[in-house]
Symmetry: C2
Subunit: 457 residues, 2 copies
């Protein structure tokens, strides 16, 4: 292990330079004008994997952005693990809030600032470098490893499931480790027990054919903003529970064990509120804040618009009003079914005088759970204890990684979180950064993980 | 009268050319970058008034856009009337829907297309031309006339009341005729019995300090869009009546006579709905469509926005949500008081977990009523009967002309609608036009009005 450690230490300045190169590619998957940049990022990843000694590296097409595959399968009869990550990024707006240009990386002390630094380029580069260190020192990896990096995570991986289904033999493995994710705090590791699922829709409400004068017509026809507001208000009880028929029907009640795990995590409500700038938390009665955001489902309006939005006054009675809605889902809710229930609810409560149409958006993710004693989690915990000197928390995430649900559904394997992002790194926001110390520690952690898996599996 | 008539007929081509020149000035009062254009329009009007033989023409400053004053006061002991109109226009967006550039006037058969053609440049030029025709033929006007044209009607005339209050002697008159307004149909004149008043406010709802990830925080804090939707939904009963405390307190119940007048106006509900593209009318129970839009007050959301509004999905839990609200008011509602009641209502129903701030917008107008037998109305009716061969309908307008309430309050005089716009002329909308036949008939009508007033007052 000393040779690997020395290798990593010696090469760190180069690795940082390489990460900076990687971060300069504006691989924003949601914007059509960056399609070629996402492909460039795929090419960069495939080249870097080949340089690391990873074999069978291929950039493979999907219906959308490409995936990059590679493997090293000479460890013999032992298990084959897969490592997952993504090379696409979120958009950068609002650009004005960035202190440095988002694709012109800047290092300030331990922090490397750039869009994608933490989510997920810095994190996904880690296992490639760890593999290189093993291959360039021991000449081999302790376990068989397949790498799968995608370019559409930030848009919900719409074509990834079809790709997985169409490449079962290539992708078959015993368990996946996700280099997309993170730990609880700098000094506190975590095992991820689950993620929420997702479904989304847009509701479009139309009144008159065009915008009308609110003096001439106000009071005589229904304003679509009024209708939409009533429809949105009808989605929740005043206490925050969801009022959509059947919404909670398939929801697995959190177990005593789960609730104990959540309760074991320190929670300071004043700090929680202060950090995000709210006066109070708010949510479904009978659940704690972490339970509400991890173990309970939501219906959330992500955006609303209609009519006049500028300075001053324009007395218009608008023709249309719109809202974007998404739901976070927990076992055993089905994304398509919940999306349909919400759509039916909205259609049912739509008042006469407006017409309502619902767009079913294609961002979906299955809710995901992994057993605490899964061998991947046990191996991860061993590495955590060695690196951090303490046991990991057992946490959930309220967000969604569609890949995890897909792999379970299509290949029957679980995905273990093994990544080193931290929750202050402004992921999806201006001034995203990744810690260089996390970058280096992650490489060591992956080397240890490979060895631990060879031992324990 | 034949000389005047011949004069108008002979000069009509020039007058149309002059109106086209006037319409080329993009005098959009709401946009700061057009401030100089509004001033140019004022200069154009003052020059045209001088050319007409109107005296004491002055461009006078206000706190905002200037007004143009002029008079001709040599008719002797008789009454002094005032003529009102405005030379500013609405903005042109959405520009893409215009068939011709909005400030590059185009004539198609009887229609002159341009922003401001009907509202109000075409209409306000009419009395100037009528005065010129009298002065250039008879050498005099039958009555003393003051002209007052403003440049901020489309933004609610915020500085006009102070101007009137500060220039009482200059502006004193016996009654005003408004060249801003219209008739019922091409072949059906109307006397305007009243206008609704106006007040407006903006509500800003804030949750967290910044946009948050709807996975990480969804379910644990209150979404400001949810809060705003509930607040807006609380403004009305499902049947459309306003639920704001005290809102109807000062509302004068429509009299039997008023309701009879409204009922006398032909109303075809299918045509009404078809024209604007709605499936049904909607409003306060117990009132007809015209009663709802003329004699009853409203609370109307003119715009709403917050969070993500683009293509696809962005799972954001937005920091803020906003709405623009305006109320149409009827006697004896007070704009400032109603605005305060709505603000208090919104603050009272705001749920814990968000902060709400209310901006009181300065667009206000008093509700306005004029007696049917006002001498100005009687004179207008005589002209209508002569020109149209039929009695006018007695109508109200659901919109607001702040000037009318101000003049009544500050100088104690009523304003009589005497203008020739029609309701299909796309006022405030793309492809606004004015009918050249209305333009010419209006000139004749004003000449007749001057003579009628000299006779009857």
């Amino acid at each position: 292990m000393e040779a690997v450690h020395n290798y990593l230490t010696r090469r760190q300045p180069e690795f940082i330079d390489q990460l900076i190169d990687f971060l300069k590619i504006p691989s924003i998957s949601s914007l059509p004008e960056h399609k070629e940049d996402v492909r460039q990022a795929a090419m960069w990843v495939s080249q870097r994997m080949e340089n690391a000694g990873i074999e069978n590296v291929k950039v493979l097409p999907t219906g959308g952005h490409p995936v990059v595959y590679g493997d090293w399968l000479h460890a013999g009869e032992g298990p084959t693990i897969m490592i997952y990550g993504h090379f696409d990024t979120q958009p950068v707006d609002p650009l004005a809030l960035w202190h440095h240009p988002p694709f012109d990386p800047v290092i300030v002390k331990d922090r490397l600032y750039a869009r994608g630094a933490s989510d997920d380029k810095g994190n996904m580069l880690i296992p490639i470098l760890a593999a290189e260190a093993c291959l360039n020192t021991a000449g081999r990896l302790p376990v068989n490893v397949k790498f799968l990096f995608e370019g559409q995570e930030e848009i919900g991986s719409p074509e990834l499931e079809a790709f997985i289904a169409g490449n079962r033999d290539l992708l078959t493995n015993d368990m996946v480790f996700s280099a997309d994710g993170g730990q609880w705090r700098r000094n506190q590791p975590a095992l991820l027990m689950g993620l929420r699922g997702l479904c989304a829709l847009q509701v479009d409400v139309k009144g008159a054919d065009g915008d009308l004068h609110s003096g001439t017509f106000g009071g005589a026809i229904l304003n679509p903003i009024h209708a939409l507001s009533q429809m949105i208000a009808s989605l929740h009880d005043p206490n925050g529970s969801v009022k959509v028929d059947g919404f909670y029907e398939s929801v697995a009640t959190p177990s005593v064990e789960e609730r104990e795990k959540v309760a074991a995590i320190p929670y300071d409500e004043n700090a929680y509120c202060r950090d995000i700038g709210v006066s109070t938390v708010f949510g479904e009665p009978g659940y704690s804040t972490y339970e509400r955001s991890w173990l309970r489902p939501t219906v959330e309006v992500n955006g609303i618009w209609g009519g006049f939005q500028e300075e001053g006054t324009k007395t218009v009675l608008p023709s249309t009003a719109h809202a974007k809605i998404s739901c976070r889902l927990v076992p055993d809710q089905n994304p398509e079914k919940i999306r349909e229930q919400v759509a039916l609810h909205l259609e049912a409560v739509a008042p006469a005088g407006v017409s309502v149409s619902i767009q079913r958006l294609n961002a979906t993710a299955l809710p995901y759970r992994i057993p605490q004693d899964h061998p991947g989690n046990r191996a991860a915990e061993t590495v955590h204890r060695a690196l951090y000197g303490k046991a990991p928390y057992h946490i959930w995430m309220g967000g969604s990684i569609p890949f995890c649900g897909m792999m379970k559904k299509r290949l029957g394997v679980y995905t273990v979180n093994f990544a080193f992002g931290l929750n202050d790194e402004a992921v999806h926001a201006p001034n995203e950064f990744f810690r260089l110390s996390s970058f280096e520690m992650g490489q060591t952690a992956y080397v240890k993980l490979f060895h631990e898996l060879a031992k324990s599996l």
